[in-house]
Symmetry: C2
Subunit: 311 residues, 2 copies
């Protein structure tokens, strides 16, 4: 594929930026990839791994002369970072981010964007439970969605280029309005994460069932919650603090439904439970048909081809 | 491996019995495997698939002369089934089950067990979101746990043979007391399933976010809930109705914790959230170290070796 940007600056070198760098390298999408991170250790690791062409000590240095600047830090750190780099942004550059909450990013970054710089917030909906510069991989975005939140009056060329970049990294791209984005994410991501964290916390806290029992017998369902409850604590703290209203709204709905199901259990209303459990199967089928999960039933097992003992 | 039972009767031919039959065939653990199911369609499918040596029309026929009889039907159906087969059980036979709730099975099956038949309830903690006779596979129990609930005075030989069968099918075996079993399962399995069903139900119900949006963007976390929320509705209805007290106790704890986290979000208590999210990571590590899940980050993707496009 051909080059889309001459110089891309990645600020924050965790899972997402690390995966973007690897994907851009693979497909030859950037003339030069410059990266930086606040921690010396992260910068050192990135240098060793070599997924950036150059790693700079400061964000100001990284963005100099870049035609694309990507803010890839926790949502709560975006505003201060934008203020820091604003004077150093090249005229005509595109400024984007990869944060999971768009309302807060627009509010906190927007006011710092200089005249002549195109600010187009983005959110690649992809990730794993791992974090840090060593966790990225070029295929992370393949067949995942990247939501662009360009606002009312985006520069058409800047928007088209950013869209082309995400598509070239394998993502499906869709545009969305800010508030709707934050509600959609509250449902598909933020509330599920909080619920998973809660269930894992409850299991960890019980006196009458030991942690070692929980761990041993986790394949019975609990295990599915632990993957997302192992996600980066800083990132998730910021998500909940900055997407407060939408998350609390969905959690309110969740509690209401949970109480209705609890009541059905208490009163022995088997029909209510059966109908509820039948309805939820359809959504799973939709997800598999949309290629967002596999139908392979043996999740949590090493695939037979790579080492499982023969039956 | 050598034969452990001369004739095993499997009643109910779903995921668990189908997997047991295949595992016993693989390892030569039974002289003859006889199966039956209430539905004609299931019996026909089982005959076509050939994982039983013989499929009978009735449970009474199936158990005749069997030295092991396995009740593999939903928990709510166990009592009536036990009454039906009791007069046909061979003296000295072992009667077991594979239900997820043991208190109810002991109460509803126990009174029907004839003198001279050894009743040893069991619970293989393994499964997938698929159900029916076509969904079983011989490796389902490998490195999973099977809990035996033998009660106070089990026959030592009968217990040793049943334990040997489960071990030969690849399971780790542990004995547990009835009430503790039902509490452990409420934490590791029943509450997580109900919570997953609830979250999927909430997402399905929202007016302002469409089902197609939920499906498209599910990889952001929601997807992890949908696998277990696609499990068999009849089985799970019975689990909640028969393990009512323990499930409601754990759900009560869950709601309490969820409210504390919601309050931290509302009041902006980032430290509380950060500490909570850090603590839950440790449990995930324990699960991976115990071999109950893989650390592979790309859950939901086809493994690279079997078809993913190169980066």
């Amino acid at each position: 594929m051909s080059r889309i940007y001459e110089r891309v600056a990645l600020i924050g070198l965790g899972l997402i930026a690390g995966s973007m760098a690897r994907a851009m390298q693979c497909h030859g999408l950037a003339g030069e990839i410059v990266g930086t991170a606040r921690s010396q250790e992260t910068r050192d690791t990135a240098r060793e791994l070599g997924f950036c062409d150059r790693v700079t000590e400061t964000a100001a240095e990284a963005v100099r002369g870049a035609d694309l600047v990507v803010l890839a830090v926790p949502v709560g750190a975006m505003g201060a970072l934008a203020r820091e780099i604003a004077p150093h942004l090249a005229p005509g550059a595109t400024l984007t981010d990869v944060g999971s909450v768009k309302g807060h990013v627009v509010e906190s970054v927007g006011p710092h964007v200089p005249e002549g710089v195109h600010f187009i917030p983005a959110h690649p909906m992809a990730g794993t439970e791992h974090s840090g510069p060593e966790s990225g991989f070029a295929e992370l975005f393949e067949n995942r969605w990247c939501l662009l939140v360009p606002g009312d009056n985006p520069d058409p060329d800047a928007l088209a280029r950013l869209r082309a970049l995400w598509q070239a990294m394998g993502a499906n791209v869709e545009e969305m309005e800010v508030a709707h984005h934050d509600l959609v994410c509250a449902v598909t991501s933020h509330a599920p994460h909080l619920i998973a964290y809660t269930m894992v916390g409850v299991a960890d806290d019980l006196d009458r069932v030991s942690d070692s029992e929980v761990i041993k017998f986790s394949a019975a369902g609990f295990r599915d919650f632990t993957r997302i409850a192992a996600s980066d604590p800083t990132m998730w703290r910021d998500v909940f603090l900055t997407n407060k209203d939408a998350t609390l709204e969905i959690l309110g709905r969740f509690t209401e439904e949970l109480f209705a199901l609890q009541r059905a259990i208490r009163t022995g209303d088997g029909d209510y439970l059966f109908d509820y459990f039948t309805r939820t199967r359809a959504i799973r089928r939709g997800i598999i048909e949309a290629g967002q999960d596999t139908a392979a039933p043996d999740f949590g097992r090493v695939p037979a081809s790579s080492g499982q003992k023969a039956g």
